[in-house]
Structure formats: C-alpha cells, structure tokens
C-alpha cells in the first residue's frame, strides 16, 4: 500500500509497510496513479499514452523503471506481513497506570470529559490505602518490565497532594525490592501550584503536563473557576516558575485543547511559544456533537488548513532559530517505535489500567465510570483477565477501517475509548479523529522531509 499527497510544495509518497518516505517529481506522482505491481519489463504502452501529452515518452519509461526498482527493493508497494505479530502482546504484563488521585476539581472546564472532575460518580479523594494498593498491584503485575509508569491524574491531582507525596514515597521504597523503576508523571491545571509543590514535582516527576489552552481569552472562556472567573492569570506565572526551575533532562509540556471557538488554534500555539514555552501540545476537543463548542465534520477543512498553516510557521520559526516542539508534528522517520508496538498503540486494558479513588480498575482513564468496563477492584482483589485479553486484541488488524488505512503505523488504531463512546464499539474507528490524525501525520512527515532535504542528507 502506498499513500501519496502534495503538501508544502512537495510530492510525497509513503510506502506504508516499510515506512519508506519518498519525495518524487510530478511525473512520478502522476505515474503512480497507474503504475502498480506486478510490474512489466517495460512501461505498458497505454500508461505511456495516458501521460505523453504532459511528459516526454522517454522520461515516462525511465520513471516507470525507477518505480519498479524501488518495488524490487521492497520500499515501494512492500507487502503487509505484520499480522503474525498481532498476537504478541496477549498476556503482556501491566506496565502503566493512571491513578485518579482526586475525583474533584477546582475548575469548571466546559469540555471536561470527567464531568467537572468527578466522572459522574461524586467528588472523592483517593485515600492513601488505595494508592498503596495500586503501587503493589503494579509491582506484582508488571512481570519483567522494569520501568513502570504511574500518572497522577484527576480531577485535579493537586487537591490531594499529600497523598501524591506519600504514594511516591511508598513507590520509591518498594521499587527497590522488586528491582524496578517508577516513572511518576502528573497532569495539573496549575491553580494550586506553590513553590513547595513545584519543588516536589520537579524532583520526582519525570513528566509534568500543564494544562493551558493558549491565548488568555480562549483559555478563560473554556477554563473558568468554580466561581466563574478566569484562571489564566493565576496559572501562567506558576507554570513559568515550574518550567524555569526544571532540569533540562526531564520532560514537561503545556497542553491545551482547541474547540470550534478557536479554529485558528495555530495562534494559540504561537501565543504559548511567545509566553516562553517550547514544549507544546494543543489538540482537538472530542465530545458529542450537541455541544456548541464541538468539532464536527464541517470543521475538518478549516482545521486541516490550520494544521498546514501551523506547519509552515513552524518551519519558518525553525529557520529563524526559534525552535519549539509541537507534539503532534513530532515524528522520527528512522528510529521510532518498532512495528509491533505500532500495531496497538496505547495498550489500554492490557498494559495500562486506571484506578479510581475507590480502588476500582478500568481499562483507562476514559473508561472510568462506564460500569460494563469495570475490570476489577483493588479492594476485593478481583481482576477480569478475560477483559484484559479482549483488550489485547484491539490491534489494527481487528479494526476494519484501520486494516486498510495508510496511517495505521503512525496512529495505531486511534483511541479505543473514543471509538466506544462515539461509534459504539472499541473496534470502530472514530471517523472525525481519523481525519484529523491523518492530516497531522501528513504535516509531520512533510516537515521531516523538508528538514532532511535542507540538511542535505537525502540520498
């Protein structure tokens, strides 16, 4: 399978199964409408005839030979023989956990998928006992995995920060017995950040996600406090303080959500950069169509255009020495994850689980509160291994539209939770997300292509 597109002044051809990225001329681009395996010794006359009004015959034949040669090299129209790896991670250990340390929140973000923090199940803080049980559960169920990820999530985790600290201490104490290494991460809305908390986070958390939507008016409109005031002016100085004090080798990023109200979200990305942040993620809201801020099919062309605009501006910035990372455009065309990982992406319900303040286990944070997806409980020790096996099978070869999708090794089959919530089936790809994901991947590859040309590394 190949995917070809024109973007940023380049004709780009992606060989889906080898991961090969080719930059071609217009002739090749046109020729690929018809030239496909099995290749003939010489370019068939009807193909030549079709293009001979536009290109010299000799060139067409030459180009056909080049295409056939790349096919022989297995970097164009290469076969898809990964399905045999799909069963690989059945019975894989659990290596990551989302700890819902607080089902309460001090903001009232309009698009919050957690229903203003409580996931529809009442405002609760996780008791230390549950947090410790969660650490034990992860240690015991992680088999030979050495690095264990534990993300403090909410609601707003800082509302239960004493427990966060104690869980970290407990994890650090017990990881030694098991010869493991916890990587703690935290997501926060910033309201309760203090110097003490910043110190602790910068010391213990290998990644911190700071929620902020971009321009002040955009942010304050969607992220008001419980008393309906803006939150921007409170959090911005705190974020800057945290980031400035953070070790360079530790990860962090500011992340925002864009909605129908700011389809010009590239402005928000650049505003965040201007405010001093160079690790930025801004992503589309996913919600039901009924909300006024919902993104719908009708918005796709405008969003696609905005992604292109953003990509162009990133490029200009780069050329002017003002580099920053935009998460959705980061891609490594040579050293990315192995194909086996790419078959299933997040690993929810199989390698990754979420724990509620009551100790209930769910496949991931987005499934929390959906009764039929409750996998077990840390309190009574139950765990539904059958459900785990089901989730292990949610790979791209079991998702009908992913199977034949050119973006499958970049997207890995999307978000199971969104699939379930908006399409009614974890295996049914959420169409709107797909369209946006594909656009992002196209932009990301284009940016890499341009950079590698500019570096003159291309062969």
């Amino acid at each position: 399978m190949i995917h070809k597109y024109y973007l940023g002044g380049l004709y780009i051809v992606l060989d889906v199964n080898s991961g090969g990225v080719h930059i071609v001329d217009e002739l090749t681009y046109d020729l690929l409408d018809d030239a496909a395996p099995p290749f003939a010794e010489k370019c068939p006359q009807e193909i030549v005839d079709k293009l001979s009004a536009k290109y010299p015959e000799q060139e067409i034949r030459e180009c056909y030979d080049e295409i056939a040669a790349l096919y022989e090299e297995k970097i164009l129209f290469s076969p898809d023989d990964y399905e045999k790896y799909a069963k690989f991670t059945v019975a894989s250990p659990i290596k990551a956990m989302c700890l819902h340390i607080s089902h309460d929140c001090n903001l009232r973000c309009k698009y919050c998928f957690a229903s203003t923090g409580d996931f529809g199940t009442g405002r609760k803080l996780m008791p230390l006992e549950i947090g410790k049980k969660a650490i034990d559960f992860l240690l015991e169920n992680s088999g030979n995995r050495k690095n264990l990820e534990l993300d403090f999530f909410g609601g707003e985790p800082l509302m239960n920060f004493d427990v966060v600290k104690e869980v970290v201490a407990y994890g650090r104490e017990r990881e030694k017995e098991y010869g493991k290494n916890f990587r703690f991460t935290i997501t926060t809305n910033g309201m309760l950040l203090t110097d003490d908390k910043i110190d602790f986070i910068n010391k213990e958390m290998s990644n911190v996600v700071l929620s902020i939507d971009g321009r002040k008016d955009v942010h304050d409109n969607m992220r008001p406090t419980a008393g309906n005031k803006g939150s921007y002016d409170v959090i911005l100085p705190k974020y800057k303080k945290l980031v400035d004090a953070r070790d360079k080798d530790k990860d962090w990023y500011v992340r925002g959500t864009f909605t129908k109200y700011n389809l010009d979200f590239a402005e928000d990305v650049f505003d965040l950069y201007e405010k001093g942040f160079d690790q930025i993620s801004v992503e589309p809201v996913v919600c039901e169509d009924k909300y006024p801020y919902a993104l719908t099919e009708a918005d796709v062309p405008a969003i696609a255009e905005e992604y292109e605009r953003l990509a162009q501006r990133l490029l200009e910035n780069d050329r002017n020495g003002k580099h920053f990372n935009f998460f959705h455009f980061m891609i490594d065309l040579d050293q990315g994850p192995c194909a086996i990982k790419r078959l299933r992406g997040c690993g929810c319900g199989n390698e990754y689980v979420a724990i509620t303040p009551d100790g209930d286990i769910y496949p991931c944070h987005q499934f929390v509160g959906i009764e039929e997806y409750k996998m077990g409980s840390l309190v009574d020790g139950s765990f539904n291994t059958e459900m785990k096996e089901q989730f292990a099978k949610t790979h791209i070869y079991n998702k009908p539209s992913c199977r034949d999708c050119w973006a499958k090794f970049y997207c890995s089959g999307g978000c199971n939770a969104n699939n379930y919530m908006y399409m009614g089936d974890v295996l049914k790809a959420h169409t709107l997300s797909c369209e946006l994901e594909k656009k992002r991947v196209e932009c990301a590859i284009m940016l890499q292509a341009i950079k590698s040309m500019e570096r003159g590394q291309a062969e």
Binding site: N17, L70, F88, S281, L333, P337, C338, R342, C415, A449
Partner: protein, 48 residues
Amino acid sequence: MKHIMTINKANLKESAAKGGCGNCQASCQSACKTSCTVANQKCERDDK
C-alpha cells in the same frame, strides 16, 4: 535515481524482527492525556 528521492531508512520491517520487548512508555493518544502519536514515542529496547 532521477525522479525519486528516498529520505529515510524504511526500516519498519527490521524493527518488527527485533521489537516487541515492551520496555517503552505506554502511549495514550487521546486528546486529554499525553497527546502522543505512537510515532513520536521513543524505543527503549535494552540491546540497542
């Protein structure tokens, strides 16, 4: 090649042969979380 320029190693197939160890980070792709496209994750295989 005159018409086609290949800009990367196209090594996905090899990665499968050596991969699948599971050492790398879990990668939520949803909007609310770590926002990672799988392709921007790092491989953390031990014997690399």
